[in-house]
Amino acid sequence: MSTNAQILRVFAKRTIGFLFISCILCSYILLQYSQEILVYPRFAHSNKNRAGLNQDTEFLISSPCADFVKAPKDDEAAVVHYRQGWKTLHMYVGPEITCSIDSFESFSQVNQDTVIHTMFPSRGYFIDLAANAGSTYPTHIPLKDTVVGMDFA
């Protein structure tokens, strides 16, 4: 009886140990995979933020958070993905930090909308007077989310 109890106790200990190690291993594997994801460049429709090859150093998505969204130029797999319309991103997953231009996605030629969004964060009225087809070359699309406005083209 006591022998059986000892066997059961040892079995239970080993099972718990095995489960514990498995959990740690699974978490580690999940963490590794979660850091490497494939993302279609969501800024592809914007000229300014179009993903492209920077021949000098590396290729990257030219987003306001470009420092945290980039891949080394010798990453052949990433280059292949890029040519197929996909791109591997090395995503920052560390402690919370401040992105240089917050999280506002700019569509303006030189970030005018980012500055205006900072100055007038609540609702307002804006007018985009441009000399082109406004629907084809809009300057301030994101402001429409926070500001009521109209385009004259």
Partner: protein, 206 residues
Amino acid sequence: MAAAVISNSKDELIHFSLGNGAFGGIVAPGADNSKVDVRNAGVKQFYTVNTYETFKKFSVPATIQYISLDVEGAEESIIESFPFDAYTVLAFTIERPSKKVLEILELQNFVEVGILGNFGDTMYLNKRTPKFIEVLKKGQIQITKIEKKIVEVTEEDIFPVRNVRKSRAQGVRCPYHKLDHCHKTLLHYTATYETVLKRLGLKKVT
């Protein structure tokens, strides 16, 4: 969205280049498209409309937070006839504003927030804006982040940036903490870096 050719004169028949993508605009002397051949397929004729009547038609409110003016050389024509008596504009961005445009903005109590990029896209803020200094400071901090590519901005960072290729100054040329030196006159976007520093009472930036 409204398709209209706004000008300082009403019902004037003008040529407008539509076939030039983002660089379309009025074909007239002084405009960016002045050399476009009006016989081109992409050039159409339109009658101009008046800013005030257009704003009335679309029920534009009396206070407009922001106007972006990028009309390829016709900026002066629009600003000259802008109904400042009926509408209060808090902020403008104007691409390559002429001296005439600057004179009008000075009269309307605008202060320069800064220049973004290399094409002379200049932002102005109306002194009548509620919490004027606070809003100006926010805008200039953001411009400094963009132009100097830095994350944390201190008061010392909010100064002009030298455009090495063109010897001009861009970024914040009239910092909120130096307003006494520069709020009365608006500088042309081509002003040299040295001219901008001299106006701020500085000989060189450390």
